[in-house]
């Protein structure tokens, strides 16, 4: 590991100031991803600015019911929070579906949003990877890619975003709050993760040197009836092969509100807006759920070895929405 300087910031403004003008500096949250990548040599910062101790470790509830989750809150504290468990259960379930108890105690909300892909070629310094070494090529495109993207990928990168938490945040229209040397700003999660295109190394719309200070979830009554379901290759403590965050509100058999987002299918959490459009105002039947899934998955382009993800996601849509509908009756 490369030697590095270490500074601890007392508040968000000091953190941003310490990082300013230091292109080789990184913020350190829980370190569960960054320290691991430093050990393997993927990340080689010259300076770590420790933000874990910043007073951004709590949830604030606004008058209109919106939640603002502090960026340094741990994943464990987020999942255990009563407001999250009761009003956005799919978010609590998504966080609990990720990593292990130890890692969730360390990992922060801001860090979770910025975690890197678990594509094996990204951490294998002996192999080309456009995300790690722009222009070197994508080893996964014609290599080991059984758990890679089916939506939104390009020939430059087929890696997926590994976060479970971000899938639930995408379903509930979360907004990322950031602080830059110029001041504070807000970035809707829908715009936070950039399309892959020919720049897979540029993953987010976060300006250089910006610090994530929190995530705001707008009030969403539909979220009180929501689920996160994750399919993986072992019963626990593994990344998803496919996952879904969904919320459903039905009145007299008609879909009045619905939120659907997929995980492990693209470089970002995939909000299924085509499926939502297909369902709104229509019947809440398994046939309608399947048709909506098909409408979304019409854009899927599976790779040679991950075609199973298309029916996997389709089945997750049907079973999760059916479960939500039956629970509401």
């Amino acid at each position: 590991m490369r030697e590095f300087d270490y500074r601890r910031a007392a508040d968000a403004h000091e953190a941003v100031a310490l990082l300013s003008g230091e292109p080789e500096a990184r913020f350190l949250g829980g370190g569960t991803n960054l320290v691991d990548l430093m050990k393997t040599g993927v990340e080689n910062p010259a300076l770590l600015v420790d933000v874990r101790g910043l007073p951004l470790d709590r949830i604030e509830v606004a008058g209109d019911g919106a939640l603002t989750i502090g960026a340094t809150m741990t994943n464990s504290d987020l999942a255990a929070h009563p407001e999250v468990r009761h009003r956005y259960p799919a978010l609590a379930e998504a966080v609990l579906a990720g990593a292990s108890g130890q890692l969730r105690n360390m990992a922060t909300v801001g860090g979770n949003l910025l975690q890197r892909t678990r594509c094996g070629y990204f951490t294998d310094l002996s192999r080309p990877c456009n995300k790690r070494e722009p222009g070197s090529g994508c080893s996964a495109l014609n290599g080991e890619h059984h758990n890679h993207a089916i939506l939104g990928w390009s020939e430059h990168c087929v890696a997926t975003n590994p976060s479970d938490m971000a899938v639930a945040l995408a379903a509930f229209d979360a907004v990322v709050r950031v602080l830059t040397p110029e001041g504070s700003a807000e970035i809707p999660l829908a715009d936070f993760y950039l399309p892959v295109g020919d720049t897979p190394h540029r993953e987010t719309a976060l300006p250089d040197g910006a610090l994530i200070t929190g995530v705001t979830l707008p009030a969403a009554p539909v979220a009180a009836r929501s689920r996160y379901r994750k399919v993986r290759e072992r019963a626990s403590y593994a990344f998803a092969n496919g996952s879904i965050a969904a919320a459903l509100h039905v009145e007299d058999g008609t879909v009045r509100d619905v939120r659907i987002a997929f995980g492990a299918v693209a470089s970002r959490p995939w909000r299924a807006r085509e499926a939502e459009r297909a369902l709104i105002g229509g019947p809440a039947t398994p046939e309608a759920f399947a048709a909506a899934a098909d409408a979304e998955l019409a854009a899927a382009r599976p790779l040679a070895h991950n075609g199973y993800k298309v029916p996997l996601i389709r089945n997750l849509v049907v079973s999760t929405l059916t479960e939500l509908q039956e629970a509401a009756r």
Partner: protein, 177 residues
């Protein structure tokens, strides 16, 4: 900016404060084992995947292999060496002995530190991925224990008795609470 590649820190471990200068790259795991001679905490994968290095930081379980020592300054560390009360084993340690919750023993310190924290997480009614309804308090069941202990791997495969030991310790704690 002056360059400081190493830092003088004080680490509070098992109630005792230690002053030491660490290279900033040093993990808490290496500081415990190599600098403080507390070798009960084990290095397995060194990547946060196996849980052998589990310790308690401010009473919460963490992977000490991914925790920089410099970033642990000012926090309370408890290792396997700090659990017993003199000659009297911690109830979780005793349950592992009584129910044969190990084979080779290498993962055991991490398993026990993790289990101590699991029991406290259950007492605080934290949900898990095995909790049917996250809006309600979780049950103390083998299914919950199995899920919550999934960050601790045992290559001998002693899981059956590990789950029994942790479940018994958790239920005793529930009775005594």
């Amino acid at each position: 900016m002056t360059s400081t590649r190493s830092t003088e820190i004080s680490l509070r471990v098992n109630g005792e404060t230690h002053s030491l200068t660490v290279d900033n790259r040093t993990t808490l795991l290496d500081a415990l084992r190599e600098r403080l001679d507390l070798t009960g905490t084990k290095k397995g994968c060194d990547q946060g995947q196996c849980g052998a290095c589990t310790v308690l930081l401010d009473r919460q379980r963490v992977n000490s292999c991914l925790q920089l020592a410099v970033a642990a300054e000012g926090r309370d560390v408890t290792t396997i060496e700090g659990l017993a009360d003199g000659e009297e084993l911690h109830p979780v340690q005793q349950a592992f002995v009584d129910l044969d919750g190990y084979q080779c023993g290498y993962c055991t310190p991490g398993q026990i530190c993790s289990a101590v924290a699991v029991i406290e997480e259950l007492a605080r009614e934290w949900p898990s991925a095995a909790t049917d309804d996250v809006r309600r308090p979780p049950a103390v069941s083998e299914e919950e224990i199995r899920e919550r202990m999934s960050g601790n791997l045992c290559r001998c495969g002693a899981y059956v008795n590990i789950v029994r030991a942790v479940t018994q310790a958790a239920k005793n704690e529930q009775v005594n609470a």
